[in-house]
Amino acid sequence: MADVEEPEKKRRKIEELTEKMAVDGEHMGSGDWDGRWNHVKKFLERPGPFTHPDFEPSTESLGFLLETCKILVIGAGGLGCELLKNLALSGLRHIHVIDMDTIDISNLNRQFLFRPKDVGRPKADVAADFVNNRIPGCQVVPHFKKIQDFDESFYRQFHIIVCGLDSVIARRWMNGMLISLLSYEDGVLDPSSIIPLIDGGTEGFKGNARVILPGMTACIDCTLELYPPQINFPMCTIASMPRLPEHCIEYVRMLQWPKDTPFGDGVCLDGDNPEHIQWVFQRAQERAANYNITGVTYRLTQGVVKRIIPAVASTNAVIAAACSTEVFKIASSAYIPLNNYLVFNDVDGLYTYTFEAERKENCSACSQVPQDLQFPPSAKLQEVLKYLTENASLQMKSPAITATLEGKNKTLYLQTIASIEERTRPNLCKTLKELGLSDGQELAVADVTTPQTVLFKLKLTS
């Protein structure tokens, strides 16, 4: 636990220094030097023709950024490292960063807060240390945790949240969390309960940045169709009709490995273990040779097993920069923020496209409109599950369904806990009528894609 204490100690020390060095008039924080914030001040202290209607130039604004504004950065990877740097150099000092990963050598081509000696250490910790050392006065607080390890009380303390995630599920969870923080009085949204969410994503030479005002503008789930589900190869192709080197690799990963258990019983294939990849590579080559398929390489093998997405420093820099500019605009009220989606692609020249993503009227996350489930009473529970996972607007991963029957809360099916899965599995083959569900019944569905259960209204069709 020593690693966790160190940043705490440093932070408290910096706070003491700050108090001692406060000077009237000028905002000299810990170790501030002459001219330090000149570039930033011009946007805070001068009026202009394009500023936000609410903007008031003031010498106090810098103080708000430096002392009060609290930002949460989610992810300390390709986007996260850039975001921390950008925010720190824009006058923001109170920054928390969450990342559940440790540093891998393949991160080093773009995650510039890490060095070869840091491989294996938690990203959040190393990133925070680096920024705090390089930018005097900056107080990044790291959390080597999953976003799901925190609850509303944690998230509520931030003025703005910026995401640099590599998972749609995590984005949706964060999205759902901020929506759950919204408070409505007599059906009217209380603006002070809104925490803006800036979200960035990159893949190779493509990227996007968006501004989400939960409850007001399009949320992640409103535009779920922009994230089409990953297509996997059909099983019959993998099992008996391979044509591409990728098919051969998937065969070894999905069928041969569980059968041969080459590194022991119950030892799962670890994409980060070179020995595992080597084993898969060799056997994939053998299979490919049997079918006269060329092209199986070590690099391809690793790419398929780990579902690797190519990445470079430049795209991450661009998208994080756009996101950080939006954070600054919102934190300072200096300009009207992006409304609300930016797409970037620099394969052929540089291309950007900016548009307003629209809210979905019946969005399952933010519309407060109860979701309908329409099924005949003879439909099996399995079909309901299939709908929840395959419907383009829902795209749930492993939904758990509960219903109130005879005054008691009954779990109809839950996949993620083995013992409960086994117990409720027979329900999948039962019809909705057999399960005792009636028309108008409320079903509560929990899933990794949302921190709150989603309520559905069951409509039994004839």
Binding site: R36, K42, A313
Partner: protein, 533 residues
């Protein structure tokens, strides 16, 4: 040594999947020069050092100021007063030990006065936050020396990039949505006979449902041709009829309902694109008609020798077509049928490439060079990418700035919207004028902002008048650019840093296509535009 190579493969893995080992090699053999280690400059370099550029040299005569440290991740406050090139080199070097970092404590103007050939050694020069005079001087030297020049600046919420390169050829442009090269409208002999080996009507069910859609379309096209005077289905109606024809070929079950034949569904879906006539794009035709393609000499770069060789192929053995690309998309089929079909395409592609190779050889011989000067690998790569060749030519800065050669049309037509990015370009040109007149930028100090508005307005008007530009620049922009006070906010500098670095990588690796030639980023609206000035 082996350990370093392996760890480099691991470190660069994510980018090797984009530009390959040969792209990485080109990057590691490059040496770029950055002029001015302001935030925009160091951000650009950061994005070149991380992926492993061979070497960089920073040229900067400035001393580090408190303001510099405030927006720059690669300057620390204990370097205040030291030379900026040196200070930045230390912290940039620290990012990647594979890279060699150098610095020259000198202003570019001095170097241009005393030793302009200093710049000839670089793969590319990046000029950041350069005053107009220096920029034009440097532009002229680099243009004559054929060294690519990338001008970048961050000015308030505006990002700007200008690429200056005489001619940049690209073989591997990696287009996002390339059409396949299937030749279904004019199957080559080997493909024809392969198609003939299939008997759709006579084959067993298990073969029927695993026949590649390419074969299916080809077979039905033969039927269509005999009924339609050898004309391809052209419009929607005919394509729809053709799709129906294929649908009729789906086997039926005993009860009369159609079998589940995914391969036939694939065939139907692909009718739209698979029947497009094979033809050479206008971009590639233009390349074939270029002067360099016509006049092959001993100095002709490999790209043009190869282009000429392919042109010879097209006009002779190719019968009007490029060498076959040789790849086919994945499709529902059993392994054997797919691999056999794939091999038909692959072998024909190899054949075409070796014919092109003969043309290359005779062209090289005709100018007294050996066939070793262009490798087989390069010939194969060229043939595979023949449909995607690109050439980028940028006008010089002298042409952009010259009163006689300014691109009035581009500027005037882009000012139509009046709130687009072109007005930002005109403002940048105007603040440069202001700098020339007053030796400072407008609005740097608070008290100057108001007074400088009218001064800057004069600069705008003199600019428009000098170039005869009949456009209106709104007062709001003049006010805004005084407000900026030549600030270089870090987030905008970082956007420029990412954008510029990738353009540099494109030039060095000769992969993907660089912009031509002026890119403006508006951080206020998060929009951008590219102009050819």
């Amino acid at each position: 040594m082996a350990a370093t190579k392996a760890s480099k493969e691991q470190k660069y893995d994510r980018q090797l999947r984009l530009w390959g080992d040969h792209g990485q090699e080109a990057l590691e053999n490059a040496h770029v020069c950055l002029i001015n280690a302001s935030a925009s400059g160091t951000e650009i370099l950061k994005n070149l050092v991380l992926p492993g550029i061979g070497a960089f040299t920073i040229v900067d005569g400035h001393k580090v100021s408190g303001e510099d440290v405030g927006n720059n991740f690669f300057l620390s406050n204990n370097s205040i007063g030291r030379n900026r090139a040196q200070a930045a080199t230390e912290l940039l070097q620290e990012l990647n030990s594979d890279v060699s970092g150098n610095f020259v404590e000198e202003s570019p103007d001095k170097l241009l006065d005393n030793d302009p050939e200093f710049f000839h050694r670089f793969s590319l020069v990046i000029g950041v936050q350069l005053p107009e005079g220096t920029c034009l001087r440097l532009g002229s030297v680099l243009w004559n020396a054929n060294v690519p020049f990338l001008v970048c600046r961050t000015y308030g919420l505006t990002g700007y990039m200008r690429l200056v390169v005489k001619e940049h050829t690209v073989v591997e442009s990696h287009p996002d949505n390339a059409l396949e090269d299937l030749r279904l409208d004019q199957p080559f002999a080997e493909l024809k006979s392969h198609i003939q080996s299939y008997d759709l009507e006579g084959m067993e069910k298990k073969d029927h449902i695993h026949t590649p859609w390419i074969i299916i379309v080809a077979k039905y096209l033969e039927k269509w041709f005999s009924d339609h005077n050898f004309q391809l289905p052209k419009n929607y109606k005919e394509k729809e009829a053709f799709r129906q024809l294929i649908r009729q070929g789906i086997l039926t079950k005993e009860n009369g309902t159609p079998e589940d034949e995914e391969n036939f569904e694939e065939a139907i879906k692909n009718v739209n694109t698979a029947l497009n006539p094979t033809k050479i794009s206008s971009i590639v035709e233009d390349i074939f008609n270029e002067e360099q393609c016509n006049d092959i000499t001993a100095q002709t770069p490999a790209f043009w020798v190869l282009a000429r060789a392919v042109r010879e192929f097209v006009q002779n053995e190719g019968g009007g077509n490029l060498p076959l690309r040789g790849s086919i998309p994945d499709m529902i089929a059993d392994s054997e049928k797919f691999i056999n079909l794939q091999n038909v395409y692959r072998e024909k592609a190899m054949q075409d490439a070796s014919v092109v190779s003969k043309h290359v050889e005779s062209l090289l011989q005709s100018v007294g060079k050996t066939s070793e000067s262009i490798s087989e690998q390069d010939i194969k790569l060229f043939c595979k990418n023949a449909a995607f060749l690109r050439v980028v030519r940028c006008r010089s800065l002298a042409e952009e700035y010259g009163a006689e050669t300014v691109n009035k049309d581009e500027i005037t037509s882009s000012m139509d919207g009046a709130d687009g990015e072109m007005v930002l370009y005109l403002m940048l040109r105007s603040v440069d004028r202001f700098y020339q007149q007053h030796s400072r930028y407008p609005g740097v100090y608070d008290y100057q902002v108001e007074e400088d508005i009218s001064r800057l307005k004069l600069c705008v008007h003199s600019l428009l008048q000098e170039y005869g530009l009949n456009v209106n620049v709104k007062d709001d922009y003049i006010h805004e650019f005084c407000r900026y006070g030549a600030a270089e906010p870090h987030t905008v500098a970082s956007f420029v840093g990412g954008s510029a670095a990738q353009e540099v990588i494109k030039i060095i690796t000769r992969q993907f296509v660089p912009f031509n030639n002026t890119f403006i980023y508006n951080a206020m609206s998060q929009t951008s535009a590219t102009f050819q000035l």
